[in-house]
């Protein structure tokens, strides 16, 4: 399977847990949302598991929903966005 490099960006609580802003990863070029989600929260960054259910992913600055079509390109940005409630 062809893989491409992507950037995973962490925000809010996710950034606190992973202790960095950004990580580079390689993913299959045809990964869909569910695959990306599983890969990030279970395989690459299992420490994020505890917040997984309240997080969403945005791909190249577009919020995704579980049934969203995801198109990945080399260096696509996958943002891990937990809800932020501060006011």
């Amino acid at each position: 399977m062809e893989t491409i490099p992507i950037r995973v960006l962490f925000f809010g609580k996710a950034r606190e847990i992973v202790k960095c802003d950004e990580q580079s990863e390689r993913v299959p070029v045809d990964a869909d949302y569910q695959r990306l989600f599983k890969m990030i929260f279970e395989e690459r960054f299992p420490e994020l598991k505890e917040i997984a259910s309240s997080c969403m992913l945005a791909v190249d600055q577009h919020f995704c929903r579980p049934d969203s079509k995801v198109e990945l390109y080399p260096n696509s940005e996958i943002a891990v966005i937990p809800p932020l409630s501060g006011g």
């Binding site: 925000f11 809010g12 609580k13 950034r15 949302y33 569910q34 989600f37 599983k38 929260f41 279970e42 598991k49 505890e50 917040i51 997984a52 259910s53 309240s54 969403m56 919020f63 929903r65 579980p66 049934d67 966005i81 937990p82 809800p83 932020l84 409630s85 501060g86 006011g87």
Partner: protein
């Protein structure tokens, strides 16, 4: 048009009391019947108008201007012709003038003729309302128009036709000129903004600028909801609140910073779902500037039920998020993106990764009315720092017990992060942040903790939550030493915050 009508109650309630005056004038509140019932106090006769030096002048535009005896929105007097009056009945007053009552009647000079039309009274300054009543009157050849009614209902004459948009007044044009000149915004933008009613929930770090800029730009009605009081540590970012209002309600404080031409409605209560439904129905847009998950889910659901767009802002430390929810036919709601509330301590099913159908706006919604959001989120609206109760009472000491204990040799472990430790600490405190406690090897940690000193170990943090976790952690890691050396590990209830409150008022609270 609804803009100002919505603001009526506010205007009425806040009417500045008028000083006594020898000749009473009547201020009629010709508000529409529904509001009249609600605000019956507004319909009462004001028998007082201030004893002031009324002056008047004719300016370059031939407007006759009268000084106001009233402190509030004053009515408009404009030159007109009968024909124009007919045509312009629906036009909104552009500028407000005050009424003169020097003999129990309202007098207008030359320019007022022919007979003026009462379009809106003081309390019912309602934009482009229909004239309520036409006044009869006479010109007694003294150059003034005399009303038959003795009155105080300040008449409003319609304006000359300058081809202006009927929803914008001369004052609007002058005030908002800079944004009218931005062609993407222009007259239409201004008009729509003026007709808009926005409810800002939360008068804090996000609510202050949101409300101030909306008001500055000329929003029609501004609602502000917040139950909280201004505190000193709000001032650095909630810049609408002034130092003199620390301890006062945030809604009142923010309202004082809002430009006087904006109708403001305030709601100083902890909002529940039902109340919010009732409040939000009178607004066009809801701005979520709240600081907790429960309120965010509540506002989302209410906006879905009422079909209102939700502009949601949130910020923490260096990050912020701005999202518009429930906007347009396909726009997702907050629950679409975040179906599960954040619950850091719950083990969650990871493979789930969101739900396909939204519980509130999906194909087959399961939530049809506001729910209990505090239960749903497992966290409160009011209590920003819920206190943890992990340890048994005999594993804890109060600040006063510690103040006695520290007279003998003790070990005080301060679990706050380094940057908090740098703010202030007790002299005997040794800083071992939570992260270090968790990560350090036993041998290093033992040295840092000073367990060999065999003195009792006390653990302190900012408010007394982490200190409990730390006590448990130390107890588990050094169980055998604790048992064999016979010392105790206890946390200090309420942490430095309680220490500053009860033991040493000079200790800085933050």
């Amino acid at each position: 048009m609804s803009v100002y009508r919505r603001g009526l109650a506010e205007i009425g309630i806040n009417r500045t009391p008028l000083p006594n005056r020898s000749k009473p004038a009547t201020l009629k509140a010709n508000i529409n019947s529904e509001e009249k019932l609600k605000n019956s106090a507004d319909s009462t006769t004001l028998s007082t108008v201030p004893e002031i030096d009324y002056s008047s002048r004719v300016d370059d535009d031939h407007y006759y201007m009268l000084k106001s005896p009233y402190q509030l929105k004053t009515p408009v007097i404009r030159e007109s012709t009968p024909k124009k009056m007919e045509l312009l009945q629906d036009e909104e007053p552009i500028e407000r003038f005050d009424g003169v009552d020097d003999d129990g009647r309202f007098h207008l000079e030359e320019f007022a003729r022919p007979a003026p039309v009462l379009k809106a009274t003081l309390t019912q300054y309602v934009g482009n309302a229909e004239p309520i009543e036409r006044f009869g009157g006479t010109d007694e050849d003294d150059g003034r128009f005399h009303f038959d009614e003795p009155f105080g209902d300040c008449p409003v004459l319609l304006e000359r036709d300058y081809g202006m948009d009927q929803n914008l007044s001369k004052a609007d044009v002058e005030r908002y000129s800079r944004q009218l000149l931005v062609h993407e915004f222009g007259v239409n933008g201004q008009k729509e903004l003026k007709a808009a009613r926005v409810l800002v929930v939360g008068a804090g770090g996000l609510g202050c600028p949101t409300a101030m800029y909306l008001a500055g730009a000329g929003v029609g009605t501004l609602g502000i909801a917040d139950f909280d009081m201004v505190s000193k540590d709000n001032l650095h970012r909630q810049v609408a609140h002034s130092e003199t209002l620390v301890g006062k309600l945030k809604v009142d404080s923010l309202k004082q910073s809002i430009l006087s031409n904006i109708a403001v409605r305030t709601f100083s209560t902890v909002l529940n779902g039902a109340q919010t439904m009732d409040i939000a129905k009178d607004f066009d847009v809801v701005a979520d500037c709240s600081d907790n998950a429960a309120t965010r889910y509540m506002l989302n659901d209410v906006c879905v039920f009422l079909n209102k767009p939700l502009v949601s802002g949130s910020a923490l430390r260096w990050e912020g998020q701005l999202t518009v929810y429930n906007y347009g036919e396909d726009g997702p709601c907050y629950r679409c993106l975040f179906p599960h509330p954040p619950a850091a301590h719950l083990v969650t099913n990871c493979s789930e990764g969101g739900q396909k159908d939204c519980a509130v706006c999906g194909e087959a919604p399961t939530i049809h009315a506001p729910i209990d959001y505090e239960v749903f989120c497992g966290s409160g609206v009011v209590d920003k720092n819920p206190s943890l109760s992990l340890l048994d009472p005999n594993e804890r000491v109060s600040v006063s017990e510690y103040s006695t204990a520290r007279k003998s040799p003790t070990i005080l472990v301060d679990t706050r992060p380094k940057h908090e430790f740098a703010i202030a600490s007790l002299p005997e405190a040794r800083n071992i942040p939570m992260d270090s406690l968790k990560q350090l090897e036993d041998i290093e940690l033992r040295k840092l903790l000073g367990l060999s000193e065999a003195a009792d170990v006390f653990v302190i943090c900012h408010r007394g939550n982490d200190s409990q976790l730390a006590v448990r952690l130390i107890q588990e890691r050094f169980k055998s030493e604790i048992e064999s050396n016979g010392f105790q590990v206890k946390d200090i209830v309420g942490g430095y915050d309680r220490w500053a409150e009860e033991i040493d008022q000079e200790f800085p609270r933050y």
